[in-house]
């Protein structure tokens, strides 16, 4: 399968429509039937999928309309977790941080319904399925049961592996493992790497790894040891500084974060194009995908959309330049 050079994608989350937020509130208050709640999520899912497609995104997702939060969605479906209440991440953003209180078990599919729905409704050949990685779920949970974080992370890797095999059978082509916490403890990076490799073992699919707001020098030492084909990293938030570590990315692809998701200012297409030209000094365009820094969900929806539109326009500027050199498409690579 061929993709246009510099394929555009999203990282995962997108602002939920206001009406959907109200639906969530009503559901949490017990004032809405399960069936109506699910229907609302599916409608929002298609709306956001279309929004991504309209913006010109090559590899879209539905903005995680059916997910309350990136770890909670998974810990709520894996038995053995318990919730004590929300914990603040920053400002007024919270997540329900779960505690592992007994042996964790894969009791139900985690994202299979989402994938089936999106696959049935997209106009694109490939979608990206973002799934929170085993180390990050372990790191962002309280551990009251396992003897170590390593044990907890490996247990989660086994659970995710079951899900990935299920998705592969259903025709998924591209999973993005979200591991924003994997560099939190420099001494534990080998544990995170091992957990990721266990999670993807035996699955013939394209895997991307998203890591953000971290010291990427710690990751660069492991580029060749992690069994994924793409590293989707954030750069706009750090003003495109300190890109030297990319010299170590000699084979894998880079998902280049070019839109700041914590700043409502919309980047211009020219800014996006400048940033892409800069990163092409480190990674050749045939190994570059372009995406926002991270999930867009904390932005106003109109701003999030305009950021995607301008990101695509910026990519198109560079594509025209590359076309003059005869570089127009790239193959969709699955293997690491």
């Amino acid at each position: 399968m061929e993709l246009p050079i510099l394929p555009t994608s999203v990282i995962g989350s997108y602002p939920k429509p206001r009406w959907l937020l109200r639906i969530y509130s009503l559901y949490e208050l017990g004032r809405l039937q399960e069936e109506d709640f699910r229907e609302a999520i599916r409608d929002a899912s298609v709306a956001v999928l279309r929004e991504h497609e309209r913006a010109g995104i090559d590899i879209p997702w539905d903005g995680e309309m059916g997910r309350s939060e990136m770890t909670e969605h998974f810990t709520a479906r894996i038995s053995g977790f318990k919730f004590y209440g929300p914990v603040r991440v920053w400002g007024n953003a919270y997540f329900n941080k779960a505690a592992a209180v007994s042996k964790l078990e894969y009791s139900e599919p985690l994202v299979l319904d989402e994938f089936r729905w999106i696959k049935a409704n997209t106009t694109r050949e490939v979608v990206k399925v973002p799934i929170t990685g085993p180390y990050t779920i372990a790191e962002w949970s309280f551990n009251e049961y396992y003897s170590s974080k390593e044990e907890l992370a490996f247990e989660l890797a086994g659970i995710l592996n079951k899900e990935f095999k299920l998705l592969e059978r259903e025709g998924a082509k591209f999973i993005q493992l979200d591991e924003p916490a994997m560099l939190n403890h420099p001494d534990e990076v080998p544990i995170a790497v091992e957990a990721i490799n266990r999670a993807v073992k035996g699955v013939n699919m394209k895997f991307g790894l998203h890591v953000c707001y971290s010291n990427y020098n710690l990751l660069a030492d492991y580029f060749d040891e992690i069994n994924v084909s793409q590293f989707a990293l954030e750069f706009a938030n750090r003003g495109f500084r300190d890109m030297e570590f990319l010299r170590k990315l000699t084979h894998g692809e880079l998902g280049f974060g070019v839109v700041d998701v914590h700043n409502p200012r919309v980047e211009s297409p020219e800014e996006v194009a400048r940033a892409i030209r800069k990163v092409m000094g480190y990674v050749e365009p045939e190994r570059l995908y372009v995406n926002p820094d991270c999930g867009l969900k904390l932005l106003d929806r109109r701003i999030a959309y305009q950021k995607l539109v301008n990101m695509v326009r910026g990519v198109e500027i560079v594509r025209r330049e590359l076309k003059r050199a005869g570089r127009e498409t790239i193959p969709f690579r699955r293997s690491a």
Partner: protein, 309 residues
């Protein structure tokens, strides 16, 4: 004697966060938001009283992290970029230092006056501390584009804090200085510069001449021990250095784990210190922001039960 105390923040209640959000999108007036702050602070002080916490803070309900909004009141600083606060899933907006630092007019003294008023009403016997980030921690967590060295930047921040401290309506000021124990985490970014231990010690001791200081360290054992101040040690992830001669506060309750400690084990851990010190403050080991609100209050109640031992 053991004196239970709070350090830094309480988890911001979700009900308050919703009000702040409504205010930020223009759906709540400033007056109504202020009412929400007052009401939530009052509730917190009542609960702190019930828990037996003798030295309290205002819970930092008006703060997003230990740097914001203060850094927004400093000329020469822009607030930009989101960075992990050490290895936690907790983020702060980063100070980007673009010019010479100076303190602008700010509402922090007034916020404390409001908190003092509430305290007098519901818990007059408690001592209220102000909470500020320390100059060394501020310097390490800044992106320095203006000063020649981190030493100079820390010095500049100390100047700003000295000015602010003298305006505060309380006698005891807590300086959040985790960086004395845990220098900027490599998890976030490479450290390119450092504050010398001598400078760190001197700057804090200079500030202590303006108001009594309670210097809070966590995530390790502090390598710098300022004199003439109360030093808060994290007994969960660090220890009290043998050479420490001053007044200690001990972070004995783990504020990053939901599992509840056993009171008898905490008492055993405190026994050697009780033999050495006449008065011993006991606290959570770090900010309570890292816990769900319900668990944070259970941990504070447990801490309160250690009081008077």
């Amino acid at each position: 004697m053991i004196v239970p105390a709070l350090i830094g923040s309480l988890p911001r209640p979700v009900s308050l966060a919703k009000k702040i959000e409504q205010y930020s999108i223009g759906r709540l007036s400033e007056e109504k938001l202020e009412e929400a702050y007052v009401e939530h602070t009052r509730r917190a002080f009542v609960k702190l009283k019930d828990a037996g916490i003798k030295v309290i803070t205002d819970g930092l309900y008006r703060w997003d992290d230990i740097f914001n909004p203060l850094i927004g009141f400093i000329d020469g600083v822009e607030v930009n970029g989101l960075f992990k606060f050490y290895e936690n899933n907790f983020f702060y907006r980063s100070p980007v230092v673009r010019g010479e630092l100076s303190l602008r007019e700010n509402p922090i003294p007034e916020w404390l006056n409001t908190a003092l008023g509430i305290k007098e009403e519901v818990y007059p016997e408690a001592t209220l501390k102000a909470v500020l980030p320390g100059p060394v921690t501020l310097a390490y967590h800044s992106i320095n584009e203006a000063y020649k060295s981190l030493d100079e930047l820390a010095e500049a921040y100390a100047g700003v804090l000295a000015e602010l401290i003298k305006e505060l309506p309380v006698g005891l000021v807590e300086l959040q200085e985790p960086v004395l124990a845990a220098e900027l985490s490599r998890a976030t970014r490479e450290k390119s510069d450092s504050v010398s231990r001598e400078t760190a010690k001197r700057l804090i001791e200079d500030l202590s001449r303006r108001k009594e200081l309670w210097v809070v360290t966590y995530f390790g054992t502090p390598r710098v021990l300022p004199e003439g101040v109360i030093v808060n040690f994290d007994l969960v992830e660090g220890s009290v250095p043998e050479r420490f001669q001053g007044r200690p506060a001990l972070g004995i309750v783990d504020a990053r784990k939901t599992k509840m400690e056993r009171r008898d084990r905490l008492v055993d851990k405190l026994k050697p210190f009780l033999r050495r010190y006449r008065e011993l403050y006991v606290t959570p080991n770090t900010l309570l922001d890292f816990l769900p609100e319900s668990v944070a209050w259970r941990k504070l109640k447990l801490l309160g039960k250690l009081g008077g031992e």
